[in-house]
């Protein structure tokens, strides 16, 4: 059965790779925005050195990591969500139900394939340009990079779990776009895409640390910046895993409800 899901992931990877112009345009966008944000951060840290416990080099590095992850873990939503949305509109969603394949598993596999492609094109490429243009603090030890990739993978699971729940609302609302737009704002803010969460004051900071969104950008960035090592790193993985488990389980439960609704009430 695993064969199906690896084929779906492989297919998704190749699918994204067929759109070369979109890929190039996307990589350029991430690079340009990385440059703008990094310059802004440099100015900010020049005025307030050591803000949030980051020095200026770390802050600039943080921005480039966040640009590399933005599309890879789909902080703004997207990926399989676009496909599911199109299938709601066309009614093809009915076809998905009579296939002997798990709906959630299918889309997770597809999202993993997409993320793998975008990690290279929209992650590694902008990061490499950033490293040439700015003075970044990146680790030399391969182990840290491996730890980082594990955190990214777990962050993707959390992101998928959230986006899958958003997409499932389409079974009731016929169109998940509104929910998705609201989620995009929340997600961008609480994931640490714009600013490290350490800069959020008081209650807001506390909230940001317990919500699942930090698993997407803030936590992987901290791993690469080696701010989380040893026991602290294990706690970070545990936090990501726990959220991934909760969200994926919730996705399964809601999926069962959705299928029941379609099958019993008629879509």
């Amino acid at each position: 059965m695993l064969g199906v899901y690896s084929a779906v992931a492989g297919g998704a990877f190749r699918r994204y790779s067929t759109y070369r112009a979109a890929t190039v345009a996307g990589a350029v966008t991430n690079t340009v925005f990385g440059g703008i944000l990094a310059s802004t951060m440099l100015a900010l840290w020049h005025a307030r050195p050591g803000l949030g416990g980051y020095d200026a080099r770390q802050a600039v590095t943080y921005i480039w990591i966040s640009q590399a992850l933005l599309v890879t873990v789909a902080v703004w939503g997207g990926g399989f969500q676009d496909d599911v949305q199109a299938r709601f509109r066309s009614g093809d969603i009915a076809i998905d139900l009579y296939r002997p394949v798990d709906f959630q598993g299918w889309w997770l596999a597809s999202d993993v394939g997409r993320a793998a492609f975008q990690l290279v094109t929209r992650g590694a490429v902008p990061m490499a340009v950033g490293a040439l243009a700015f003075d970044l603090t990146l680790p030399r030890q391969p182990l840290v990079w491996a730890e980082f990739l594990l955190a990214v993978a777990l962050g993707l699971l959390v992101s998928f779990g959230l986006r899958f729940l958003v997409s499932l609302t389409g079974f009731w609302l016929h169109d998940a776009e509104g929910v998705r737009a609201a989620m995009m704002v929340v997600s961008m803010f609480f994931s640490g895409t714009l600013l490290p969460l350490a800069l959020f004051p008081g209650l807001l900071g506390e909230l940001a640390r317990v919500l699942p969104f930090s698993a997407m950008v803030q936590l992987p960035a901290d791993v690469l910046l080696q701010r989380r090592t040893g026991q602290s790193l294990l706690n970070l993985y545990a936090f990501q895993l726990a959220w991934a488990a909760v969200l994926l389980a919730a996705g399964r439960a809601v999926q069962a409800l959705a299928v029941r609704k379609v099958v019993v009430q008629g879509g």
């Binding site: 199906v4 190749r14 699918r15 002997p100 099958v263 009430q265 008629g266």
Partner: protein, 321 residues
């Protein structure tokens, strides 16, 4: 052995209609209302009816993606809604207006995926794919992304995808919709061969009556959620009270021919069109005409199936409830 058993199956939907600004009225619509039929293994059955008659609802229930509100349903011996995943391995479904193919990738990738979804053994997969590629002329298309295929090519691609796992039952919903003559013929030939050689049971929903005439030995007509006719194609004509037409050419223009049991439908110079009941033999009529009029030439026209169906729909329009 009956592959599809449908016994007094019902399905109703609750429809809410906006009524003023706040109030909403609930109304129950009976899409399928006491349907009973059986389809034997290896049969090819045409399932026709006007839009909204309950055809798609029936097919959805037979695939298990919709639960009946009442009655009993068995496909290949299993209850579709209760065992949807198990059933999916034994049925193939093609919706003419939907596709199961992978839009951005070559056709071949979709088949490779089907192989894994249905866990088709390698040898069987290759044999089935080769057969489909040959009969449906897909060879040159295997490496083309699906989004670049024409409608006819895509349809053929979808047909192949639905048959790679050797389903014992195939549901087809408008498989020739929007196709040109050549693609239509190819699709029909393929379906005929599949039905004949593989003993695949086929349930064909269509508005194209040529599909039915060329493929199906049996027709079921549904209207308002009930079967109004179920039998061989010839029975359709009887039920439709259809008429044949005798076209006669006389030596010269004549006033309309008058004979018992015959309506003269049209007169055009020396040519006249005479309608008579389809069940009645043409011979005595021809003799009667020849005896009384200067007959030069004649031909008999069979009733068009479209007209027959239209008459059945019209007759069933207001069923007694």
């Amino acid at each position: 052995m009956a592959v599809i058993e449908v016994e007094d199956v019902r399905r109703s939907f609750t429809v809410r209609t906006g009524n003023g600004r706040w109030r909403r009225e609930k109304r129950e619509v009976r899409a399928v209302d006491g349907l009973t039929f059986q389809v034997e293994e290896g049969e090819c059955v045409g399932y026709i009816g006007p839009n909204g008659a309950g055809k798609s609802t029936t097919v959805k229930m037979l695939t298990g993606i919709l639960v009946p509100s009442g009655g009993r349903l068995r496909v290949a011996g299993v209850d579709p809604a209760a065992r949807r995943a198990a059933l999916a391995r034994r049925i193939g479904v093609v919706f003419g207006q939907r596709t199961t193919l992978w839009w951005d990738l070559p056709l071949r990738d979709s088949y490779e995926l089907a192989r894994r979804i249905y866990r088709i053994p390698d040898a069987r997969y290759r044999a089935n794919l080769d057969r489909c590629v040959e009969l449906l002329d897909l060879g040159a298309l295997l490496d083309t992304p699906v989004r670049q295929l024409s409608l006819g090519q895509r349809m053929r691609g979808d047909l192949a995808a639905a048959l790679l796992h050797d389903p014992s039952v195939l549901y087809l919903d408008e498989p020739t919709i929007g196709l040109d003559v050549i693609s239509r013929t190819k699709v029909r030939e393929f379906l005929r061969e599949t039905n004949r050689d593989r003993r695949t049971t086929v349930l064909l929903t269509t508005h194209d009556l040529t599909d039915i005439e060329q493929l199906c030995g049996r027709v079921m007509v549904i209207d308002h959620g009930r079967l109004v006719l179920d039998g061989p194609l010839e029975q359709l004509h009887a039920a439709g009270e259809s008429e044949r037409t005798l076209v006669v050419d006389l030596a010269a223009a004549h006033p309309p021919i008058e004979l018992p049991g015959v309506r003269t439908v049209k007169v055009e110079g020396p040519r006249q069109w005479l309608a008579f009941p389809a069940r009645q033999s043409a011979a005595p009529l021809v003799a009667a005409v020849a005896e009384r009029y200067p007959l030069v030439d004649l031909s008999v026209r069979e009733p068009a199936i479209e007209d027959v169906i239209a008459r059945i729909y019209a007759g069933a329009a207001e069923p007694a409830r």
